[in-house]
Amino acid sequence: MMGGVVNQPQLKSRLALVDDDDPQAPPTFKSSSQARGAPAETDATSSQAKPPMPVKQKPLLRRVSRDQWLSAVLAVASITLLFAVWYLGTKYRIEFYIRFKNVPTPYEVFRQALEMGASTKFVTNIINSVRRILAGFAIAILIGVPLGLVIGRYRHVRSFFMPVVEILRPIPAIAWVPMSIMLWPSNEASIVYITFIGAFFPILLNTIHGVHSLDGVLIRAGRCLGASEPRLFLYVILPGALPHIFTGLAVGMGVAWVSLIAAEMISGQFGVGYFTWEAYSLVDYPAIVLGMITIGVLGLACSGLIRLIGKLLMPWLAFAPGSKK
C-alpha cells in the first residue's frame, strides 16, 4: 500500500529509527498524514470481535480421514508382514544363519495363549508386573518432576545435584540389580527400585529441559501479575514445562519396562519377565513367545495411556505453532 508513495526524506528518517535488534519490527514506511488516514475506515470494526477463525472445514476433514485410512492400511500391512515372516519361517523350518528350527509357530503360540489366558498364574504374573511398573513409575514422577523443576529454576540447586546425576545416569538399570538386591530388604522392593531407576532419569532430565526452554517473558509476566515464587512454580513453570515432562514420561515408561523385565528375569518371583525366563528354563518354547508378546502389548498400552493423559491435560498443544505436521 505504501510502495508508491514513500518519498525519500521520510524513508530516511523512518529507517534511521528502526531498531536493529528487532527483526520482527516491520519497516514503517509511512508519512504521518497518509498512514493514519488509510486504515481509518477499518477502525470502527476493529474493536469488535472478528469472526472466529475457521476451525475445521470439510475439505480438510476429508483429507485427514483419507490420511488416516491410508495409515490404518499400512499398519495392518506391517503387522501382517511380521506374522507372515514368522509363519513362513517356522512352517518351512528355515535355517539360514538364523535358525527357525525351535521357534514355535504362530498357531502354537495362539493355542498356548488360549490355555494360559484362563490360568490364574498367568494373570497373576501380569498383575505383578503392572503393579511394579506403576509403583516404580509413580515414585519416579513424584521425585523426578519436583526435583527437575527446582534444578531447572535455581542455578545453585543445579550445581549441587547435577554432578551426582551425571555420575549415576550412565549406569543402566540392569547394572543396579546386584546392588539393589543388597540394598533392599525384599525382592519386591529391589525390583520396584530398578524400575524406578529406569524411569527416573528420563523424567528428571526432560523436566529440567522443560524449565530451561520456558520463555523467560512468561516468568516475568507471572511475577508482575503478582505470583509469589511457590505460585510461579505451580501456575507458570509447571504448566510451561509440561510438554517436555510428558516427553520424559513417554521415554521413562519405555526404559521402565526394559528395566523391569530384566530385573524380573534375574531376581524375580512372578511377573512377565519371570514367566518368559521360566518358560526358557522349562523348554516351553511357545510360552517364551507368549511372554514376549505380552510384554510388547503391556508396554504399548502404558505408553498409549501416557499419550492419552497428555492430550487431555494439554489441550492447547493442538493449536501450538508447528503442531499440525
Binding site: Q24, C224, L225
Partner: protein, 286 residues
C-alpha cells in the same frame, strides 16, 4: 472512572552499568524522569539507548547501578501487581484460555472465582474479544494477543501501566489500529502509563509528554509536551501541530540515530562512504 490520585513514577539520578573493567558499558547515565498520576508518558530514542532497561527497572526486573525508582511513596525493588507490564513479545500463557489469562493476576491476588470471571468478561467485552474467551492464545492473531496482554495487565487495577514497545512486533496497519484502541482504553481508565517506543508518530499520538533519550550511554536529551487535545483521533495526525511535533522529534532523534550507528559515521561523516550528504545518501546505507 474517577481521577486517580496515585500512580506517580519517579526515576531519580539513575545509572545502569553492564559488565566491569574493559567490558564496562554504561547503558543509562544519570536519568531523571517522572510520570504524574494519570499521565501518559513516552520514552523514545534510538536502538540500544537503554529505554527498555529503564522500563525493566521500573517494572522491578532489574536493579540500577545507582539511583532509585519510586512508585508513589515506595521504592521499587521487585515486580508487583500494582505495576502492570505489557511486553513486546507475546507473553500470554499458552496453556490458559484467553479468559483464564485475563484472570491470572486476580487469581494471584486471591479474588474469588466468580468475581474473577465477571471482571475478566467485562474487560474482554471492552476490548471486543468476549467471543474469544475460550480460545487459546495460539489461535489468535498478534494484534488480538496484544490487546489481551493489555487488559490482562489492567485486570488487577494497577496504579501504573508499563509498556515496552508493545506494538513492535505488529504490522503497520495493525499497529495504527492498536494505537487508537490503546488511546481509547487509556481515556476510560486514566491510568499512568510509561510507554517505550522508537516510533515517533506513535509516541506523539498517545502521549501527554515525551522524553527523548540520547544514544548510549542513554541520557534524557529533551522533554517535549504534546499539547494536542483529548480524546485523540486519527484526524489529529494531519494537523499542523502534529506534523510540527513529528518534524521536531525527527530532528532530535536523527542525530542520536547517527551517533548510535557508531563512531565511523560520526567521525568520517556520511561523505566518507562515498555518498552525498543528504536524504538520499542516508537511505543508501541500508
Amino acid at each position: 472512572m474517577t481521577e486517580l490520585a496515585t500512580g506517580r513514577i519517579d526515576v531519580r539520578t539513575m545509572s545502569v552499568v553492564f559488565g566491569s573493567g574493559d567490558d564496562e558499558v554504561v547503558a543509562v547515565n544519570d536519568v531523571d524522569l517522572n510520570v504524574q498520576p494519570g499521565e501518559f508518558v513516552s520514552l523514545i530514542g534510538p536502538s540500544g539507548c537503554g529505554k527498555s532497561t529503564l522500563l525493566s527497572i521500573v517494572a522491578g526486573f532489574m536493579t540500577p547501578s545507582s539511583g532509585e525508582a519510586w512508585l508513589d511513596d515506595k521504592m521499587i525493588t521487585k515486580p508487583g501487581a500494582e505495576r502492570g507490564v505489557v511486553f513486546q513479545q507475546y507473553s500470554l500463557f499458552p496453556w490458559l484460555t484467553v479468559r483464564k489469562n485475563v484472570e491470572f493476576g486476580l487469581k494471584m491476588a486471591g479474588v474469588a472465582a466468580s468475581k474473577r470471571n465477571i471482571t475478566a468478561r467485562e474487560l474482554l467485552d471492552l476490548a471486543g474479544l468476549l467471543a474469544f474467551e475460550h480460545h487459546y492464545p495460539d489461535q489468535l492473531s498478534g494484534g488480538m494477543k496484544q490487546r489481551i496482554g493489555i487488559i490482562r495487565a489492567l485486570a488487577t487495577s494497577p496504579r501504573v501501566l508499563l509498556m515496552d514497545e508493545p506494538f513492535g512486533a505488529l504490522d503497520t496497519q495493525t499497529r495504527v489500529v492498536m494505537q487508537e484502541i490503546l488511546t481509547n482504553i487509556w481515556q476510560q481508565f486514566r491510568i499512568s502509563v510509561l510507554f517505550v517506543t522508537h516510533d515517533i508518530e506513535e509516541s506523539i499520538f498517545l502521549s501527554d509528554r515525551i522524553y527523548v533519550m540520547t544514544a548510549r550511554p542513554g541520557r534524557i536529551k529533551a522533554e517535549i509536551k504534546v499539547p494536542l487535545p483529548r480524546p485523540r483521533t486519527p484526524e489529529m495526525t494531519e494537523t499542523p501541530e502534529f506534523v510540527g511535533l513529528v518534524r521536531k522529534l525527527k530532528g532530535l532523534i536523527r542525530e542520536e540515530s547517527l551517533a548510535a550507528m557508531g563512531p565511523e559515521i560520526k567521525t568520517r561523516g556520511l561523505t566518507g562512504f562515498g555518498m552525498e550528504v543528504g536524504p538520499k545518501g542516508v537511505g543508501q546505507i541500508f
